[in-house]
Amino acid sequence: MLKESTRWGCACDEHLMSRGATNKPIKPNYLKCIALGLVLLGTMLVTPSYAVNWSDVTMNGYFSFEYEKNVAGKPEGDTNGSFDLDLFDLVINFNASDKLRIATDLTWEHGTATEEGFGNVAIEYAFAEYSFSPLFKLRAGKMFTNFGIYNEIHTAKPATLSVKEPLSTNKNNKMGSEFRFYPRWNVGVAAVGDFVWFDKDFDYVVQLSNGDDGETNPFEEDSNTSKALGGRVRVEFLDNLQLGASFYRDHINAEYDDGDVVARARIASYGVQANWSMFESIHAEFEYVAGTVKRDDTEKISRNAFTVMLSVEVTDTITPYLRVEVLEPDTDTSDDEGVLSIIGVNWQIASNAYLKFELDDMNTEDANAKFEGEDFQEIKASLSVGF
C-alpha cells in the first residue's frame, strides 16, 4: 500500500512539475489525483485511532417504559391512560487516566423525534472528575444537584423501587409550590470524597454553580453574579442505618407577574434523610426538606415537605412498598397542603430488570396551587431495565 501510494504521488508531482517547467497546457491526470486522495482518505479511515482505548471506556444505561391512568376522583393526571416511552439513557465513563474520568449521561425522553418537536434530548450530566485521593475529587461540568436521596437518580428508574421519585421533596412544583427546593442540574465545580471519621464511613459533596434562573441558559451563562452553593454529607452510622443532610442556597432572577421586570428571588433549602434496614428484609426511608423563598416583590415563603417509605422484600425478587408524601407549600397558608399516598410492588424479573405496579392517591386542600382540592387516584406501571 505504501509503495502504491508513493508511486501515485510521484506521478502527480511529475505532472505538476512538467506543467510548471514547460509552461504548456497539459491535460492533468485528474483521475490519478482523485484516486490518490481517496486512497489517502481510506488510509486515514482504516488506521486505528489511539484517541480512545476501548478498555478505558465503560458504557451502561437504562430504559424505562410507563403506563399511567386516572382511575378515580377528579379528572387530574392522565385521564386517557397513556403509554410513555419514558426514557432511554446511555451512561458512558471515559477513564482518560488512572485519576481523570469523564462521565456523561445522554438521555432520549418520551420517544424523542426532533422533526416533530416531540420529547427531549439532553445531557443529564457531563463532567470531568480528577481524583487527588478518595478523600478529595474535583469535578467540573454539568451535574445533578446533590441533594437528598433522589435527585441524582430521578431518571434512573432501575435504581428506585417506585415508578417515580417523590413529588413532595423532589418535584414540589408539581404538587403546589411555585419554585422547587433546588434545581435538577447545575453547571459549576464540585468537591466530592469519602472518608472515615470516628470509625464511621462518610461521603460528602460541595457544589458551586451558576444555579438556576428563568432568563438565560444557566448551563452556559449566569444571569447574576451570585453563585449557588449546595452540599450534602452522608454517614453510615450503623451497618443498617445511613443518615444524611443537604443544603442549597441561590439567588435567581424571576419575572414579576405583570411583565418583564426582573426580580431577584433568594432560595434556601435544607434537608435530612435516613435509610434504615430494620431487619434484613424490611427497609424504611425518610426524607425531610424545608426552606424559604424570598422574592423582592413578595413576602418570604416558608415551606417544608417529607416522604416516608416502607418496603419489605417478601422474596428475593418481590418487594411491596408503601410511601406517604406530604408537602406544605406555604406555612402561612392554612389550607394548601398536599398528601400523596402510594402503595405498590416492585418485581425483579431479570438481573437488572424490574416491573412496578402502584396506586397513587393524591389529596390536596382547596388552596393548593396545583390541584385546588381536586383529589384523584392513578394507577402507574413501568418496566425499567438497567444495563
Binding site: Y62, R101, E152, I153, A156, P158, S351, N352
Partner: protein, 141 residues
Amino acid sequence: MKYLNLILILCMTSFFSINSQAEWVLLGHTSVEKESLDARELKRLFFGRISQWDGGEPVKLCFLNDSNALVEYLGDSTKYSKKRFLAYWNSRLFSGDNIAPKQFRNSEELMDYVTRTRGAICIADPKAVPEGFSGKVIHIK
C-alpha cells in the same frame, strides 16, 4: 464444666466448618498489593468507598452474576440483599458517582478479567478457580 467444654468444642467446630465451606472467594490481579483484607475493608471496597489502591491504581471490582458467591458474601458481611446491592450500584453508576463492578455471566470470563486487569478484585465461586490460577487469592481476616 464438662458439658460447657463440650459445647465450646462443638461451637468452635461448627464455626471452623462454616469457614472451611465458604461459598465465595476473593480473587485479585497480581498488581493488587494486599495479601489479606478484613471484612470492613472489603465492604468499603465493594461499596465503592475505596476507589484507589495505595499505589494510586483504580480499584476494578467484579463478580459473577449467576452465582451464589455474591449473595453469600453479602449475607456473611453486610445487611444487603443482592437486589439492594444492585440498586445501590445502580444509584452510584447512574448518578455519575462511580463506575459499577463488572458483572460476568460465567467463571471463565471472570477469571480472564481478573488475571488480565490491573487493580481488579473479584468475588467468585471457589469451585470455579482453576488449577494454576495465575491471579491472586486474597485472604479474609
